[in-house]
């Protein structure tokens, strides 16, 4: 469904993503893993159409990402990105104005679960509240691909359970979920596929169940193995 072909992004003298080819299939939850600067965020931004690749291509259902794919791909950036004048309600109405798959009722329901009220100004939200709000607004879309960049950043343990549940509820045979995180153990409870990245390169993609059965190792074990081996 979502595929990159030899995709590269260079910023000045730094290569953020280097010739990465991978294909994400519907019906899976992918955990994109790797240390800071490994290219996870840049890859996601290219898939969201926010960053233009230096070379290679990003395809959604066989077509280059663009206006049409933005209708079907829901992206949550790790940084706050709402206009300073917006309340949570304004942000929801903004999404409702631009995304046909956005449901304000669903948004309101998710906000309630996250213990947020829509009268709050986005600029006054704590980092944890902002993280929850970003997740609620992204998951209130009925997209085909969800890309959540560091969804657990700044979120306390109790709220994490709520978020994990909300994310898992969105999994379906016709959807792709891609999550990036440093919290490997947290991701293990959600994902069924792991994408390991390092210094802009794709290291490998593992089917976690297969990994457990064939090699008897968990995602966290494999993570340690890969990055220790590579002297991170």
């Amino acid at each position: 469904m979502l595929e990159s072909k030899q995709i590269t992004k260079v910023y000045g003298h730094k290569t953020a993503v280097d010739q990465v080819s991978m294909k994400l299939m519907p019906g899976h939850i992918y955990a994109m893993l790797g240390p800071n600067g490994s290219g996870k965020t840049t890859w996601m931004k290219m898939a969201a159409g926010l960053v233009k690749p230096t070379s290679g291509e990003m395809l959604f259902k066989g077509e280059p990402v663009g206006i049409a794919s933005r209708e079907r791909i829901a992206y949550m950036s790790t940084e706050p990105y709402f206009y300073a004048w917006m309340s949570i309600r304004d942000a929801g109405l903004y999404y409702a104005d631009f995304f046909r798959d956005f449901s304000y009722d669903r948004f309101a329901e998710l906000l309630k679960r996250m213990e947020l009220t829509d009268d709050l100004k986005t600029r006054t939200l704590s980092s944890g509240m902002m993280a929850k709000m970003k997740i609620a607004i992204t998951l209130a879309r009925d997209a085909e691909v969800y890309m959540l960049d560091e969804p657990f950043n700044g979120i306390d343990l109790m709220a994490r359970d709520e978020i994990r549940e909300s994310i898992i509820e969105h999994a379906s045979p016709d959807k792709v979920l891609l999550l990036s995180s440093h919290l490997v153990e947290e991701m293990e409870a959600i994902a069924d596929q792991a994408v390991y990245m390092r210094e802009g390169h794709l290291v490998e993609i593992d089917d976690l169940e297969e990994l457990r059965q064939s090699q008897g190792v968990s995602m966290a074990d494999r993570y340690r193995e890969i990055y220790r081996h590579m002297e991170v």
Partner: protein
């Protein structure tokens, strides 16, 4: 497009409120001066209201450029560029909203000016003398100028389209800065020089097109047509750069 314009309007609302507040304050000063025969206050109103009108139109245009710069260079740009809209549409909404805001601002100040003059005449009489004084001032600038509707209309169209070309030149400069020169040394300076160069190019083309025309009205209109054509070219160039090169 209407939804994009709605949010462009919202982004510039604070600037508009400041303009409105300042104008209201000066208008109150003017009215107090007129009613209470306080010449100092009347003088402040008469001197500063036209200045505010001119400044407001300038600021309204520049605010749109500042917002485009912010949309391209800060994370809030995600809000705009992750929506399923082409850069042509996004930029078009900015241009249209800005054009309408400038028109509306101009119209409001024109109406306010007309009202203030009417009040002044009603209070102090001598309308004909006032009009004669304005006519005399205009013809003192150039004898071919006249205070009639076609002249005023062609002058207004000229001013509006010239300002439109300045704003689109700024858009192009900002887009080049964000998309092509991002992270490069002297980025800001180069972009500024590009804006100056583009504005000079438009002026040169206008001089070339109007060089032999004697009539003022025709000069205004030809000048405006050149400005408009240049603005359209710059709009397409900006949108093209954003569509293919911009990373936010």
């Amino acid at each position: 497009m209407a939804k994009l314009m709605k949010y462009e309007f919202r982004k510039t609302l604070m600037v508009k409120m400041v303009i409105l507040g300042l104008t209201a304050l000066l208008e109150i000063v003017y009215l107090i001066g007129l009613w209470c025969k306080q010449e100092d206050m009347l003088g402040i109103g008469v001197a500063l209201l036209p200045l505010t009108a001119f400044g407001s139109i300038m600021v309204t245009g520049l605010a749109s450029v500042v917002i485009l710069h912010r949309d391209m260079n800060t994370k809030q740009g995600y809000m705009l560029f992750m929506t399923p809209n082409s850069c042509y549409r996004i930029l078009g909404a900015k241009v249209l909203e800005n054009g309408l805001s400038i028109l509306l601002t101009g119209a409001c100040f024109f109406a306010l000016g007309a009202l203030d003059i009417t009040l002044l005449v009603a209070k102090q009489g001598q309308l004909q003398e006032l009009l004669d004084a304005i006519r005399s001032f205009i013809t003192s600038i150039d004898t071919r100028l006249a205070l009639d509707f076609p002249m005023l209309a062609s002058f207004t169209v000229n001013m509006l389209l010239n300002w439109f070309s300045v704003v689109t030149a700024c858009y192009l400069g900002v887009a080049i800065s964000a998309a092509l020169l991002n992270g490069k040394k002297l980025n800001g300076l180069i972009s500024f020089l590009i804006i100056v160069l583009l504005s000079s190019l438009v002026s040169w083309l206008q001089r070339l097109a109007t060089g032999t025309i004697v009539d003022f009205k025709t000069t205004f209109l030809v000048d405006a047509a050149v400005a408009f054509a240049c603005a359209v070219v710059m709009y397409f160039a900006t949108a093209q750069i954003m569509e293919h090169k911009l990373s936010v």
